[in-house]
């Protein structure tokens, strides 16, 4: 065989392997999705959303209303705490500290914070908000989620703002606009789509978190909106139900898994489409 042939075949093998890798990736997504749908569809009923936990030995159909409500509550409070801090921090990094050493340092630190294991954030919040109080509580859960949220929102805001041309800021300043108004009226407004999608993706991420909630908001088997008490969450419920011995609970866990997975995937698809179409 001549050398050219060998080179060609070698090339085809490598390109073939790349193709296989990509196809495996796609296949995995659909395999996981298929299994989650198949396993979850049986437990999917109105009861899931309107009934609270029923003791498994009673053979009575229960639901996860308390867990859905708790998850929404925890995520909403975390967003209320984390989004403003994240956006303001992003504004500092992009507008006040651009190209400065301290700005680059904080930006890198935020980048690193994004990858801190979330369970460690759980142990940290446990030591400052659960132990001193003496019991698990919703605030601790939301704060733990907010701590995860802040660096993501900060970096995504910074990146969105940096896409706005500097000349636009200069043009606003040249009209005699005070700098805070330049940021508020011109820069933020131009970058709104980017910030909105970035922040929403970040919220979607914390909405699927389990590890930071285990040691903070823990779990509860009834509907409750008292943030000073333990609060139920869908993810923690899935964790306990899925590893329980009761078939009805495992089936509920799969149904909840189906709801949360489909919700997150659709949210991601929509947001990424918006992200692709934005002007800045």
């Amino acid at each position: 065989m001549d050398l050219r042939m060998v080179r060609k075949i070698k090339g085809y093998i490598m390109l073939f392997l790349s193709t296989i890798a990509a196809l495996i990736g796609v296949a995995l997504l659909f395999a996981i999705l298929y299994k989650v749908i198949m396993a979850g569809i049986d437990g999917l009923s109105l009861n899931l959303f309107i009934k609270d936990e029923a003791p498994a030995f009673l053979q009575e159909a229960g639901g996860l209303r308390h867990a859905f409500a708790g998850q929404l509550l925890l995520t909403a409070v975390a967003s209320l705490i984390g989004i403003p801090i994240g956006i303001l921090g992003g504004i500092y990094l992009s507008e006040y500290a651009h190209n400065s050493k301290i700005g680059r340092f904080l930006s890198s630190l935020a980048d690193v914070s994004i990858s801190i294991p979330t369970i460690i954030i759980g142990t940290f919040i446990y030591s400052i908000l659960v132990r001193p109080v003496g019991h698990f509580n919703g605030w601790a859960g939301s704060v733990a989620l907010a701590v995860i949220l802040v660096p993501i929102v900060m970096r995504t805001t910074e990146e969105s703002l940096k896409l706005i041309p500097w000349q636009l800021r200069e043009a606003a300043l040249a009209l005699g606009t005070p700098f805070y108004k330049v940021i508020k009226d011109i820069v933020i407004k131009s970058a709104l789509t980017g910030i909105f999608t970035g922040v929403s993706l970040a919220v979607a991420r914390i909405a699927g978190e389990t590890a930071p909630l285990l040691f903070t908001s823990f779990s509860k088997n009834t509907l409750s909106f008292d943030m000073n008490e333990p609060v139920a969450s869908l993810t923690v419920s899935i964790f306990t139900y899925a590893s329980s011995a009761f078939e009805s609970w495992v089936s509920l866990a799969w149904a909840a898994a189906l709801v949360i997975t489909v919700f997150l995937l659709i949210t991601n698809i929509i947001l990424k489409q918006i992200m692709k179409r934005r002007s800045y």
Binding site: L15, F30, P84, Y96, L106
Partner: protein, 309 residues
Amino acid sequence: MKESFKTLKVKENILKYSAIISAFFILVIIAGIILSLLIQSKDAISKFGFIDFIFSTSWDYGEEIFGAGRALLGSILTALIAILIAAPMGVGMAVFIVEICPKFLKGFISSSIELLAAIPSIIYGMWGLFIFAPFIENTLQKWASTTLAELPIIGSFFQINYAGGIGLLTSGIVLSIMIVPFIASIAREALMRVPKELKESCYGLGTEKWEAIRDVSLPYAKTAIWGGIIIALGRALGETMAIAYIIGNMNLPLTSIFDSYVTVTSVLVNEFNEADGMQLSSLYYMALLLFILNFLTLIAAKLYVARRS
């Protein structure tokens, strides 16, 4: 009325200082984590020291002697297995998307791979436990038990000692699925930045497509890709919920890559809420070590990329 100079200054300062305080919140979080983990683990630190703790495999509730040896090894091994699989896969995916994929399929394939990252960790855990582990048991383990396990000397590394398909290797594989989208997207972006002229001049010399990728595109994108791989390693080290389901949680000596084992995160999930005293302090010590390991990995990635570009 035109705003007075003074109220303007006040408004200006409100935004500026709230922005500064918010940005420094990052520093507060990191300092808070380090400080609280240090304080909570000080009993364990003073009792076991550093070297003894990280190498000790004891986990004795009665005698209150704890060591992080197995958990640390488990975390590192699962992360390494995951990287060994995910790095070539992720780069392969990126090569396919950038260089081979027909245009009409590009969006679909790259979004599908990206969406793997949107699935929550706990779902990977359930899927891993109920579907993937039995699959591994029926395929890979069945095959290995009749071939690899029969080999002299190294055969025992492939012995099947636990049923159900869960264990170290299965955890590593599931972990690799979770981190592969990240590597793929970093590699894809890096490959897309390769200047067209560079590739064209390479084709101009009569190279094959793969040779151009190997000799021009991949070297050009190398720094970013390696940076992404190191970050992915850091993330794999801290992955929790999926591992908690499928590692098996066996605090016993590791003899085979199919064995059930422990990781720092799986021990935390299983013991943290019921622990107290020296055990809790030891768990915090473990968490601190994992945090440091993870932090150093990520900083290494940052420095590597910054230095090279």
